[in-house]
Symmetry: C2
Subunit: 302 residues, 2 copies
């Protein structure tokens, strides 16, 4: 089954202890779509400006990502972000954010996108997320992300989105902001009364947690000798996660746990190189082998 993703496509200038990159391909929808494309067909809705290089269009097409919903706005520049990471790599210092054509982004879904089965709303403005939800015809699963800026400034709108979400996928600080509860298990209890049946809390280098049906599943992040660039790891996780689910076309406990591992595997590859460069050479065999490595990392016999 195919996935529709709505979110940013961007240029990133990146500086980490491992080096620098300028005008690297970035954006939540880009990372998500590339990761998900290893599992299933992906349709992307987003916008780029008059400076967006054809080579990136060609790369996304080479991943079989449908770009019919990617608007090319000739009146401005592509979303641009400049970030710098210290050695702990958990938080980027935002040096420049220039929304460019993204400031006026109004997602317009091509007709054939509206009957999508799996929908991922990346961390765009909650009003835009609601707008997309009004356009689609009852997807099997609506997965939403958000970000701190909307939780701090548009909390009521975020709550409206959450009420219409089947599976919320946010990070730990966002779960705390959304609920006002510091303890993550209690925060999850609250979120699961707000609409979603399922919750995934991403914890960066500490892994991710799945909350569903009173059950908790925890997958650690793969310990790596080198993390070159964590940018987009969360969206890559989401792409691997939802890609796995859409491919399996079911949302049972077994599939959800496997999807958590698939997402963690994709995220672990993504951070091994700048931008989404590691995914350019990734093979299905690499993914299967990394998923097995997660078993070796976390299993034990009693």
């Amino acid at each position: 089954m195919s996935i529709l993703v709505v979110g940013s496509v961007a240029y990133d200038d990146l500086e980490t202890p491992a080096g620098k990159r300028e005008r690297a391909l970035g954006g939540a929808a880009t990372h998500f779509a590339t990761a998900a494309s290893f599992f299933t067909d992906v349709k992307l809705v987003g916008v780029v400006g008059n400076d967006f290089d054809d080579k990136h269009i060609n790369f996304l097409k080479s991943r079989n990502i449908c770009l019919k919903g990617l608007e090319i706005n000739q009146n401005g520049k592509t979303f641009y972000w400049k970030g710098q990471y210290g050695k702990d790599l958990n938080d980027a210092k935002n040096l420049i954010t220039d929304l460019g054509v993204f400031a006026d982004f109004k997602p317009k879904l091509p007709e054939e996108y509206k009957s999508c089965d799996y929908l991922f709303l990346a961390c765009i403005h909650p009003e835009l997320q609601l707008d997309v939800l009004r356009q689609v015809h009852k997807p099997k699963l609506v997965v939403c992300d958000t970000r701190e800026i909307w939780l701090n400034n548009k909390l009521e709108d975020v709550k409206k989105v959450v009420a219409k979400t089947d599976l919320l996928m946010i990070n730990d600080s966002e779960a705390r902001l959304l609920t006002g509860e510091h303890n993550l298990v209690k925060a999850a209890d609250i979120i699961l009364t707000m609409g979603p049946k399922t919750l995934v809390i991403k914890r960066g280098e500490h892994g991710a947690m799945l909350f569903v049906d009173g059950d908790i599943f925890y997958v650690p992040a793969m310990p790596l000798r080198e993390v070159k660039d964590p940018t987009g790891a969360g969206d890559t996780f989401a792409g691997g996660f939802l890609g796995y689910i859409a491919k399996a076309d079911k949302v049972d406990d077994l599939t959800l746990r496997r999807a958590m591992v698939a997402g963690s595997a994709m995220a672990s590859f993504n951070v091994e190189d700048f931008s989404l460069d590691r995914l350019r050479t990734l093979t299905w065999k690499d993914i299967e082998s990394r998923m097995q490595a997660f078993k070796q990392l976390s299993h034990f016999e009693l």
Copy 2:
């Protein structure tokens, strides 16, 4: 097989978002010994002052902990610590530390302690750790902890201890201080060239990692709806971990992984109440059930 632990026995004044306790039983050796006592016989070497209440002696004896090595120094007071935790519970604010009789502590091992099979050196001064290592006769497994103050001020002494250690058990910031390497996998590579064959890195609410024979095992911390008091969680983890190993009397991969889970289970109980109060009513059935819960938390099928 029995375990010998050398470390602090203390009085703690504790304040957390869940409440306050005054003159609660604390100390690294106390937490370790109590946790380990659920698995095997424990001998404790430490010192308390003239203010140490008989009821604590009786409690430790009720756990079958041998106190022949617990010196009662009538010339001063028991080690006293006052700490305050904010809502994130990861770091305590140290309000008062009064070493009392612990300042002059010189571990003297009763003769029959010297042939111990399993030795745990809690985070005492590295010179004292070396002194204990000179007294014992080739234990099967020497496990050591340390703390930031020694790494910052007595690094060369800590390295001498590490060189004589079979299994080092420290937290992530200590691993970074010991090696000067931020990446934990690389830090582990370095530590495993310094003497220990096995390394456990404790990560508080994010769980613990085992490094041995080129392999990494990660056990998350049990997500809990309420953490009342994290004091002593690391030492409780160590007690469950080494208790499990000493009971099994082997140090193979299967046992090490199970021991990581046993340690995590004990730590998860410890934080559910102040001081080591939860361990006072804990049963073997509780422990088995919590270890199974860790399987439910972290296992998946591919």
